[in-house]
């Protein structure tokens, strides 16, 4: 019995991580404080990292935790701490006037998913290779076959740095004026 349990442990963990990621994502819609929403998003990203690890793509799991949780969300948490997140309490409610259209759209999409579930979704085609790829294969493909994507990431990061500097300069001009 224990050997059966251990044999299916990765499947159980995958379902547990997926369920926790879904619950964390759903909590983002109902929590009021932005800091709690940020913590829910961080936990969702960490659970998704666990899913990637269980799928065997360990380097993407590492990227997920390092880049998303370690950089993007820390930046977001700093921004929340810098601003006063409590001012929405004075402006009446946390939901916008598009609450019902948004909810109806979500219900329609959930219904489409449920119909797909009950009708058994088509199985994804299996590749010839099948085995999970490692960082060596990924790096070789990234720098040779997909060099355009690599260059695109460089250009995007450069554009982001220039845009962030421009925004900061505008901020300073506004302070002086």
């Amino acid at each position: 019995m224990i050997s059966d349990f251990l044999a299916h442990l990765d499947t159980l963990l995958l379902w547990a991580f997926a369920g926790c990621a879904f619950v964390s994502a759903a909590l983002m819609l109902v929590l009021r404080q932005p800091m709690r929403v940020a913590m829910a998003l961080v936990s969702c990203m960490v659970f998704l990292g666990g899913v990637y690890g269980l799928l065997g793509v360990h380097f993407i799991a590492a990227f997920q935790v390092l880049i998303y949780v370690g950089a993007v969300m820390v930046f977001m948490v700093y921004a929340i701490m810098l601003l006063d997140p409590r001012d929405e309490a004075a402006s009446g409610g946390k939901y916008s006037k598009f609450f019902w259209p948004g909810l109806i759209g979500f219900a329609l999409l959930a219904e489409a998913l449920a119909v797909g579930y009950w009708n058994d979704l088509p199985h994804a085609p299996r590749g010839a290779a099948g085995e999970p790829f490692d960082i060596t294969r990924f790096s070789a493909a990234f720098l040779s076959e997909y060099w355009l994507h690599f260059e695109l990431t460089s250009v995007l990061l450069l554009a982001a740095v220039v845009a962030a500097l421009a925004v900061i300069k505008e901020n300073r001009r506004h302070d002086r004026g």
């Binding site: 948004g102 979500f106 058994d120 994804a124 505008e170």
Partner: protein, 100 residues
């Protein structure tokens, strides 16, 4: 429902929850976080297909999305800070004069 189908359903659910959050929430920072959730849903879908097909192109696109998310946040947060300095609020409905 096998593993791949479950992960695709989860990816679609994450994208739908993120989109709903962008539509129904009023706080600008929460809306930005919901956009990140949408990108996470897309990433999960790409990783699942890359894992199933044994191809590297999904991982390359995931890497590209990581960079896009980082660049988006690096620009969006200073813009939000600038807007909040002018309007003194994070409420998206206070920025209706940006409509033009």
């Amino acid at each position: 429902m096998d593993k791949v189908q479950m992960l695709q359903v989860l990816a679609a659910s994450l994208f739908a929850l993120g989109l709903t959050g962008v539509i129904i929430r009023r706080n600008v920072l929460v809306m930005l976080m919901c956009m990140e959730l949408m990108l996470n849903g897309v990433n999960l879908s790409l990783v699942t297909f890359a894992h199933t097909m044994g191809s590297a192109v999904g991982a390359v696109l995931v890497f590209l999305i990581f960079v896009v998310a980082t660049a988006e946040i690096a620009i969006a947060i200073p813009v939000v800070l600038l807007l909040v300095r002018r309007k003194r609020t994070l409420d998206i409905e206070s920025y209706t004069d940006l409509k033009g």
